[in-house]
């Protein structure tokens, strides 16, 4: 990291070891320039001040979704968030509504536990600008691409319902279910609709839209939840169903 024409920024870092009575905040002054990311600053602290600092990261380009943190209270991916975009001191905390493992690292097991039990899909890519989709050469009928969702958990952290209701399955899982309905690729549509048609699933959202605001990958989970509800209502009209109660009031495994 360079400090050419740079400055010093003060980070207020959430520190915690399993077994501590409570977390504490550590102040660190970090050299930074206009391109320094939150992740680069945290790694500087790890390299020059405290090698025991727990940091989650992998891809450095908003693809793996592991570096989610809260910067001054708002959810961001540390690898693409510039210190220069925030004024004053920079508080770095773990994302919310998940158990803290240590420092700014959370345990993602409860995040993934909310997802429906259907395998990840590789979806059809959109036609590129100016492309004529009908002219695909032989052997490639349809380009594939990964889902936008990078499983970062920022949406779950931002959701005010998830903050007070541990049973609410949350935006990521619901948005994922809606994607499966859009493009099933062999998954079980009825099972997904059953899974979603619960008070703690599609009907648990209260339209705060913070998930869509927080999402770094343009998934628009809130809009997808509303689309999911449209599907569920359509199905109900067809079948005249009542809402089944959740089995034991806890989040689905």
């Amino acid at each position: 990291m360079t400090t050419k024409g740079g400055s010093t920024r003060r980070l207020l870092l959430h520190r915690y070891r399993r077994g501590d009575a409570e977390p504490h905040i550590e102040e660190h002054d970090v050299p930074a320039d206009e391109g320094t990311t939150v992740l680069a600053a945290l790694r500087w602290i790890q390299l020059h001040r405290d090698p025991s600092l727990g940091l989650r990261h992998s891809c450095f380009h908003a693809s793996c979704g592991t570096c989610g943190v809260r910067v001054n209270g708002r959810e961001h991916l540390a690898c693409v968030t510039m210190l220069a975009d925030h004024e004053g001191t920079i508080a770095v905390d773990p994302i919310a509504n998940l158990p803290v493992s240590h420092d700014v690292v959370v345990d993602m097991q409860p995040f993934f536990a909310r997802f429906p039990d259907q395998h990840p899909i590789v979806r059809a890519s959109e036609p590129l600008p100016h492309a004529d989709a009908t002219d695909a050469a032989d052997g490639i009928d349809e380009h594939e691409r990964f889902e936008d969702c990078i499983e970062c958990g920022l949406c779950l952290s931002a959701c005010p319902i998830a903050a007070t209701d541990a049973t609410y399955l949350g935006p990521a899982a619901l948005a994922y279910a809606q994607r499966l309905l859009e493009e099933p690729r062999g998954t079980d549509r009825e099972a997904i609709l059953d899974w979603a048609d619960q008070v703690n699933a599609a009907w648990g959202c209260h339209a705060a839209f913070e998930c869509t605001e927080a999402c770094p990958s343009d998934v628009r989970p809130a809009q997808r939840i509303m689309a999911l509800r449209r599907e569920l209502r359509r199905r109900r009209r067809r079948q005249g169903r009542e809402v089944p109660e959740p089995e034991n009031g806890t989040a689905r495994p």
Partner: protein, 153 residues
Amino acid sequence: MRGSRGGRERDPGVEEILRGRRGEGPISRKAPGPVAWFDVRSMTTGHLAFSIHRITGIGIVFYLYLHLAVLSMLLGGEDAWSGFLELATTPLFLGLDVILVFGLLVHGLNGTRLALVGSGFVADHQKALFWSGMAFGAILLLYAALHVFTAGD
């Protein structure tokens, strides 16, 4: 990540590490429930609407009980009721009436927005729907306030 090992012994060091990590760490939290409803600093539009809807909703429920209590004064006869009406036409009380109208307008207009958005239509325009609803409500509120304070003049 702890695997299932079908009864084979673990190295004591590994066992110690797993034991130290047993259970869940503390849940990372922002401010709790109703307190969070009032912290509008970092709220985006939809979240603001969500909080306002809850606050006005509780307010309206509170008003409902108040209203029933007031109506029960009718049982006390004409004198009791007239006494209440005198109080009810004081500026302070009229001001509270305007606040009530504000709450009803916000909750009703936002409620309409929620019904539309929650049905899967216009979810992409939820911000515009909120602010235009509030703007419309502001006009209605002005009209209502004028009438509340000048009716009978």
